[in-house]
Amino acid sequence: MTKEEFTKMKQELEAEYLAIFKKTVAMHEVFLCRVAAHPVLRKDLNFHVFLEYNQDLSVRGKNKKEKLEDFFKNVVKSADGVLVAGVKDVDDFFEHEKTFLLEYHNRVKDASAKSDRMIRSHKNAADDINRIASSLYTLGTQDSTDLCKFFLKVSELFEKTRKIEARVAADEDLKLADLLKYYLRESQAAKDLLYRRSRALVDYENANKALDKARAKNRDVLQAETSQQLCCHKFEKISESAKQELIDFKTRRVAAFRKNLVELAELELKHAKGNLQLLQSCLGVLKGNT
């Protein structure tokens, strides 16, 4: 490989690395801000340690056993979820949320997948422009006619526009695709919350039924009563916090979408304008020469 090809490749790799780095950093930031903004989670000791401890946190990854446990838990949860989902909720708010979240989650999943595909095609097109630029460069150096300067200028132009196109793809990725991915997971988390609440509701109703049965048989009434109290308490607590969380979720979602969509539009504009300027100046030079 010639020196220039080598430097070019190095630059490309650096740009790619930078893009991925930006993405990861943004994700982390969003996560930490979320935790900090939450009234309960922000008080968590683990969180404080994470933020303040100025030496290496030795975090152990999940070993095989724990991974297997997680896997089984997921299976059980999904089976249970199906059962629990059938239960009709008295509370309108939660009923509405359930239907909404289900639909929303599916659509976000779809949108996220499609936006990923779109961005990948964009990157492919940018790569092609890169190859075209280098072909034009070789053509320009080989040609002995007027065309050589022409080709070299156009090759230079394509190099620059390709960089911009690649940046457009990266920004779209950052602002749009990541947003959708994040809300995919958020909506999943919200769904999980609702599931837990439904679980608690089912437990509460079961406890009620058990209490009635115990009262009828006049056996273990006290035990049934305490368990029913517990379930009721749990259910009400979870309902309350769930309501708050879901409302927060909505506000957060709206704010995040707004921020990202605005930034997306601004970046697209910036890049399009930059591209336009490059193209126009190159055209001016080419037309001036001919």
């Binding site: 595909r117 190859r131 006619t145 007027d146 132009l157």
Partner: protein, 514 residues
């Protein structure tokens, strides 16, 4: 038809081709014949005067197998077609410096023509002329049914050149007509060194789809691709000053009925003949070792080889770009739909509206990408494809030069052998057979000397022609590339401007989310 008279006179070496086609037409009885130079015969050139000469020429040129092929076509109207597609006879023309220039100036002193001895001067004069001819291929129409169906294209010519009878006319042609035109031109001009633009390629798959009658996207695209390729082919052919005046070209553009070019069918006998020829040529190319006395040719051949490699690479990259942009357009459309659905299910009204706006923007952008992909293709990619094919024609011309040299060398060697045989005869002891044998050998030697001279002349001529053609080709290439690339960049500018418009419209919507 008046076309019969277009044939240049077979006699006289110092003639020039028709300057004013009109003058030779039999209809205007008061044709200004006085302004014709003396060497031009009366208007109706009978075929007979051409007949014997033709046979000789046919026999003389064993490698011009196309000559036989064109005879097949001439079955319907032997008179006209034999004249028009009479292969070798225009070969006579380039021997003298091409003084053949179209001048629409009627009645100008043709003495001007005689004094123009260099091609460059002629080119300047042409530049002064308005080279004003514009051909468009349009309105593809399916004619017929089932497997015998074909697409007929309308070929419209607008011109102010007096070579043509009218200023504005159109005819209907089908694809095999174009191929037939190309094969006729190739048989006439390639072996004397003119770069004949190649016709668009046959595509059995594409045509079968059209024949079957599927009115879908891909067959429409195929027809559009072909139409555009045919238009470019015709424009390139008429840009060549010699080819423009060729009677076959004129007949193609003007006459309403054209004999069916059967020899272009893939499975015809002529098609098989072509394949055999190609194989023979490939073998020949490897066996001919030429002493290149002229460095110019070597340099040019190398240059064209490099150019070929580079253009192919570039073409591949551009095709890949077209493909990815089309993909991008499809994916953007899908994303737009998905975003619209998301907006629908979103219950916060402002956000919902913003998401639908986003969906709309993306839909418009997808259309933009589609248009850009088409621009990429029709402007850039097809230009490159055309030039890759043109370069094969250029290389073919160089090969013909080698073959001409080979022929010359062969006849020289034969002459040498005969001379040696003659010398040997001097020393034999059979006096009775001697005289007869000596006479025979003398005849053969004379004939061979003539051939050697002819071969040398041919070689010089083809070398000269190639030089001119190559310089014309390079000029064209520079012009074409500059023009197309500027157009392409302009299309990119348009795309970016549209993008800016769309995103600027979206931004306030996004900001409006509360």
């Amino acid at each position: 038809m008046a076309d019969t008279v277009r044939d240049p006179p077979p006699d006289g070496t110092d003639f020039h081709e028709l300057e004013d086609g009109e003058e030779l037409f039999p209809e205007p009885a008061a044709a200004p014949e006085e302004s014709q130079p003396a060497s031009l015969p009366a208007e109706d050139i009978s075929t007979n005067s051409n007949g014997p000469k033709q046979d000789l020429l046919f026999d003389d040129d064993p490698e011009d197998l196309f000559a036989e092929a064109t005879e097949e076509v001439s079955l319907d109207s032997p008179e006209r077609d034999v004249l028009l597609s009479d292969g070798p006879s225009p070969a006579i023309t380039p021997i003298t410096p091409p003084t053949s220039v179209i001048t629409p100036r009627i009645g100008h002193a043709h003495d001007d023509m005689f004094t123009h001895s260099s091609f460059d001067e002629i080119e300047e004069e042409e530049g002064g002329d308005s080279f004003d001819i514009h051909i468009s291929v349009s309105d593809p129409e399916k004619v017929g049914d089932g497997m015998n169906a074909y697409m007929a294209y309308k070929v419209s010519t607008k011109t102010s050149m007096l070579l043509f009878k009218q200023k504005d006319f159109s005819v209907k042609r089908r694809f095999s007509d174009f191929l037939g035109l190309h094969s006729k031109l190739a048989s006439k001009y390639l072996h004397v060194g003119y770069i004949v633009p190649p016709a668009p390629e046959k595509s059995i798959v594409g045509m079968t789809k059209v024949k079957v009658g599927k009115e879908d996207q891909s067959s429409n695209e195929f027809v559009e691709k072909r139409r555009s390729a045919l238009e470019r082919y015709l424009m390139r052919t008429v840009k060549h000053p010699i080819l423009l005046k060729d009677p076959d070209v004129l007949q193609f553009l003007e006459s309403s009925e054209l004999p069916r070019a059967v020899s272009t069918q893939a499975l015809s006998s002529a098609g098989l003949l072509r394949m055999v020829n190609k194989a023979a040529d490939a073998v020949n190319k490897m066996t001919i070792k030429m002493n290149e006395s002229d460095a110019w040719f070597e340099e040019k051949q190398q240059h064209f080889e490099n150019l070929d490699v580079q253009l192919r690479k570039l073409h591949a990259s551009v095709e890949s770009l077209v493909c990815h942009r089309k993909e991008l357009s499809v994916n953007t459309a899908q994303f737009a739909k998905s975003a619209a659905m998301l907006g629908n299910s979103e219950d916060h009204t402002a956000l919902s509206r913003a998401l639908s706006q986003l969906a709309e923007v993306e839909e418009k952008i997808d259309q933009l990408h589609q248009d850009q992909a088409n621009g990429d293709f029709y402007l850039f990619s097809e230009l490159l494809g055309d030039y890759v094919r043109l370069l094969t024609a250029v290389k073919g011309v160089f090969e013909h030069r080698m073959k001409t040299w080979q022929k010359w060398q062969d006849s020289q060697m034969l002459l040498q052998k005969k001379r040696e045989a003659e010398a040997k005869l001097q020393f034999t002891n059979k006096p009775d057979k001697l005289q007869q044998a000596k006479d025979e050998i003398k005849e053969e030697i004379e004939e061979l000397e003539g051939k050697v001279q002819q071969g040398e002349r041919d070689f010089e001529q083809i070398s000269k022609t190639i030089r001119k053609e190559v310089s014309r080709f390079e000029k064209e290439r520079v012009r074409d590339f500059k023009m197309i690339i500027v157009k392409y960049l302009e299309s990119l500018v348009l795309t970016q401007q549209q993008l800016i418009k769309y995103w600027e419209a979206f931004l306030p919507e996004a900001k409006a989310i509360s």
